[in-house]
């Protein structure tokens, strides 16, 4: 199953299990979604439950909050991350605060699915990775799977969660990775990082599509007899600091990899936490390998923007040589 098929399977499962689940978004019904994540769902569950909305992102956000306030479990889709911005008002000012404003009498059990990241040969606003902006907002959960299995399990968890979850789907690996997914309705835990590979020498931390390059880098490092531990953060907010700190306590060295721009990226948050809470374990300064502080370029320059396996390997090598 590909990652996008796993998303589809989780949505179908959620629709079948709970009549409160309603999907809404642009072109998700008749057309099956711009990435075909919702293909076949309207035929199966009807137009009342898989709702084609007008091209109006602020409306999608607002509808989700209003529906959630009535106990429905709306799952909205935004077509590309750059189209999310008109909806930010609803996320920041309403979705994230409904629980707080009602002193827990209401929560906001909505999910907003947003394709994330570059690498699909599309310009800027189709390739954004502004997850740090979302993770900055108290009251929002931010989740990003890196494999079909985690896409399935984490999306089910997100839909069942009583609070708003922004579910970022890495477009670059929608179809590029395949994996065994059992459609058994079992959710994976939110707020938990996944250790994908254990190692002694250096901790590599990443999330979303970049996990693939990070794993490839770990393979190359192994050939150089450097034993890398790889952590998929999976939930960015609230993130699992304990798993990271335990790993860094063991290895003393870490490289954080994300394709988002560098300044104020989520890697900065992790590096700061490590500095605050694990300084004495460190054998080298934490290093970030990131995209650059520039506009996501058109396809011919994209490979220069995206962190490469080579950059990750070089960085890991350098932190391992630091003394």
């Amino acid at each position: 199953m590909t990652l996008v098929e796993a998303v589809n399977a989780a949505l179908a499962r959620a629709l079948a299990d709970d009549s409160n689940v309603v999907l809404l978004g642009e072109d998700i019904g008749v057309n099956g979604g711009v990435f075909r994540a919702t293909i076949g769902l309207q035929q199966r569950f009807g137009r009342e439950r898989v709702v084609d909305t007008p091209l109006a992102e602020a409306l999608i956000g607002g509808l989700c909050v209003g529906m959630a306030a009535q106990g429905l479990k709306p799952v909205g889709e935004i077509q590309f991350m750059g189209f999310l911005y008109p909806c930010i008002d609803q996320l920041v000012n309403h979705a994230s605060r409904l629980r707080h404003r009602t002193q827990g009498r209401l929560s906001c059990p909505m999910v907003l699915r947003v394709p994330h990241g570059a690498g699909i040969r599309a310009p800027e606003h189709h390739s954004e990775s502004t997850e740090a902006m979302l993770a900055h907002i108290p009251g929002l959960r931010v989740v990003m799977p890196s494999s079909p299995e985690r896409a399935y399990g984490l999306l089910l968890a997100a839909i069942r969660d009583p609070d708003p979850v922004i579910f970022l789907e890495p477009t670059r690996i929608y179809r590029a990775v395949k994996g065994q997914v059992e459609d058994n309705g079992e959710a994976l835990p939110l707020d938990v990082a996944f250790v994908l590979r254990e190692g002694r020498d250096v901790t590599l931390i990443s999330w979303g599509a970049m996990v693939r390059e990070t794993m490839a880098a770990a393979d190359q490092l192994a050939a150089e007899h450097l034993d890398a531990e790889v952590i998929d953060l999976a939930t960015l907010k609230p993130y699992d600091a304990e798993t990271i700190l335990a790993s860094v306590a063991k290895t003393g060295r870490c490289v954080i990899v994300h394709e988002a721009a560098r300044t104020g990226g989520f890697g900065a948050e992790i590096a700061a936490s490590i500095a605050e809470r694990a300084l004495l374990s460190l054998l080298a300064p934490p290093v970030r390998i990131t995209g650059y502080d520039t506009v996501i370029p058109l396809p011919r320059l994209e490979q220069h923007y995206m962190p490469s396996v080579g950059r990750i390997v070089a960085a890991a090598r350098k932190v391992c040589q630091f003394s």
């Binding site: 007008p54 602020a58 409306l59 956000g61 509808l63 209003g66 707080h100 002193q103 959960r141 609230p238």
Partner: protein, 353 residues
Amino acid sequence: MGLAKTKKQAAIPATTSETRVSGPSGDGFAQAPPDLPKEVELRVYRDMLMIRRFEERAGQMYGMGLIGGFCHLYIGQEAVVVGTQLALKPGDQVITGYRDHGHMLACGMDPKGVMAELTGRRSGYSKGKGGSMHMFSIEKNFYGGHGIVAAQVSLGTGIAFANRYRQNGNVCVTYFGDGAANQGQVYESFNMAELWKLPVVYVIENNRYAMGTAVTRASAQVDFSKRGLSFNIPGEQVDGMDVRAVKAAAERAVKWCRDGNGPIILEMLTYRYRGHSMSDPAKYRTREEVEKVRTERDPIEQVRARLLATGRASEDELKRTDAEVRKIINEAAEFAAHEPEPDPAELWTDVVR
């Protein structure tokens, strides 16, 4: 070449109570609103007076430094919420913007809880963490209290979507102002609501000023009842200073929704006597303009005059009502001034981690 065009502002009807119907059903004037039964007229007098006295007291308490944050008073607009509420049945929802005290009282929320929220106390509706603009009551189906201009419109549309999805027969009354009516989300919501025939009454409270900007300076189309026309949403312009006209229009609108016809717009022509917020000296209009509305069109005075003229109530009876209302407001103010402040631990409650 001068580009200036004079735009005529929809005036508050000067003497008679008229409701103009605009929309697919055609233009025209409906008849004057029907008189209210005696007990209803006495009730609306009391309910409007409660809001007026509450707001006056809130203004005083703000002046005394007891209220932090912002405070937007509803004085002058009382007939809109009181008349509209009479058309609703249990289960119908109400959502509005930041000028929300009147809506909460009209929904039946406790003046003590509202006032204590204004003063930021533990017993306020939001435990002293929400303030003037952010209160909810699930029991009274009041869904806020929202500070962002017009952002509640798509929320109200979402609530109406849930009503339709559940086929529960409920209608969501979504209030917003003439200022909010120029925000884009309103039209995204109109489109969706008509497309899906959602049971939502959009009540546009046209109090003639978007903060400090007169509608004629901010709006290309100052007849807000027509703002839904290109979506085929019918609208009515209603004398929002006459509680009878408001009630009659709201009943028509709610019935329209309940019958499955989709959304409808009620433009309430009203007026706010005070500034936009307590920190607004309202220098963008003349004292005479305010005085004229106060003396000629005041929603409470209209009812009071009718009650006396028809002999439905005596001066003494109305004085007793006034005293009752004052007592409730005094108690609310006393309560709000002396309840404990929230515990600092409340900073961490009801936020995900």
